[in-house]
């Protein structure tokens, strides 16, 4: 990680650049907020900031073509790593870009209603829409492995299935209506 930055940073306490220290403080503040409000680990934040189009990365590595900011995602991730290690990144442009991205993290102020980590595994829309998702028994990581005895746990009572009954009855209603219309037509 640190190799992505050409010059290693200096320890925070030894740094006399107030502006750089302020930027580092900002980054650390947002990191802390993300941890508290969104249950985001440092590594998760780092991987999020590292997201980069592979072809753009290849273009930069093979042909030396930079994007308009001149700062790569790897450099930003490396700077974040240095900050986490108690260092102040030496490259001011990278630090500034990192601080900008952290400050502009969307909707952090509106996270008072956040419920990090909530939601049963089976209930996730993400799980349902991810191709190749494998349905895992709800007792998944139990030592017994199976969890078959608990399969009905968490299911709603008979009344909880009303929406399902209504949806399931739709084809029957349509069928009855079609037969009814045909019968009516045959009469006339």
């Amino acid at each position: 990680l640190a190799t992505s930055l050409t010059t290693p940073g200096m320890p925070y306490d030894a740094c006399d650049d107030d502006e750089a220290r302020a930027l580092v403080d900002t980054v650390l503040d947002v990191l802390q907020t993300l941890k508290v409000k969104r249950d985001m680990t440092f590594n998760e934040v780092r991987l999020t900031l590292s997201i980069e189009d592979p072809s753009e990365k290849r273009r930069r590595q093979e042909m030396g073509i930079e994007d308009e900011s001149g700062v790569s995602r790897d450099e930003i991730a490396a700077a974040l790593y240095e900050i986490e290690q108690g260092l102040v990144p030496a490259d001011g442009v990278v630090l500034e870009q990192l601080a900008r991205e952290m400050v502009n993290w969307p909707d952090l102020d509106a996270d008072s209603d956040a419920m990090p980590g909530e939601g049963a595994p089976m209930a996730s829309d993400y799980a349902a829409s991810t191709p190749g998702s494998v349905r895992v028994p709800s007792g998944g990581l139990g030592m017994g492995g199976g969890g078959g005895a608990n399969d009905t746990e968490g299911l709603p009572g008979p009344l909880g299935f009303i929406p399902l009954y209504l949806v399931s009855s739709l084809p029957v209603l349509i069928g009855v209506s079609v037969v009814g219309v045909l019968f009516w037509n045959s009469l006339s």
Binding site: L47, T48, T130
Partner: protein, 167 residues
């Protein structure tokens, strides 16, 4: 028009329209809807091989999504993109992070195993037998866990483990 609505296939289109209606009707916050909408755009782009666009959408989804469990699916898909680009180390990082947030992801375990198995085969080609054994053992560990979570999946892996005495 969003990418997810551009599909030519009638069934896909119908599914997308129904999913959009459900998304609007679901009792979630606007941020959650935006995050999920970015995720779906990312999935569509990824399915069409538009990895740059997919990653942009995943980046936005990662920054918006509050639920760590849901974020694991975004991380998993980013891992898939890196794996298909041959960036295996990068893919490993994302798969591992996805598993850290959600240990119920047998597909991530399977993909980790596939990468280690591939590396094991490369090690055999370069004549490094001890390394290949190590890598195959690691692949078997991941497959064992994946099969424990999803016993009816990964039949090929189960056969491989049986034939190599690793089951």
């Amino acid at each position: 028009m969003p990418r997810s609505q551009r599909s030519d296939n009638f069934i896909d289109k119908t599914f997308t329209v129904v999913a959009d209606i459900l998304l609007r009707a679901l009792p979630t916050t606007s941020r959650e809807k935006r995050a999920f909408s970015y995720y779906r755009e990312g999935l569509s782009a990824q399915a069409e091989g538009e990895y740059a666009e997919a990653l942009q959408n995943y980046y936005q989804a990662m920054r918006l999504e509050v639920n760590s469990y849901d974020r694991s699916y975004i991380l998993y898909n980013i891992g898939l993109i890196h794996a298909s680009n041959g960036e295996h180390s990068r893919a490993l990082e994302y798969y591992c992070q996805a598993l850290e947030r959600n240990p119920f992801l047998p597909q991530a375990l399977n993909n980790l195993a596939v990468i280690y198995h591939y590396r094991g085969e490369r090690a055999i080609e370069s004549g490094d037998m001890p390394l290949s054994t190590l890598l195959f053992d690691k692949a078997a560990d991941y497959w064992r866990e994946a099969i424990r979570l999803a016993p009816t999946s990964y039949i090929e892996a189960q056969n491989w483990m049986r034939t190599t005495g690793r089951s």
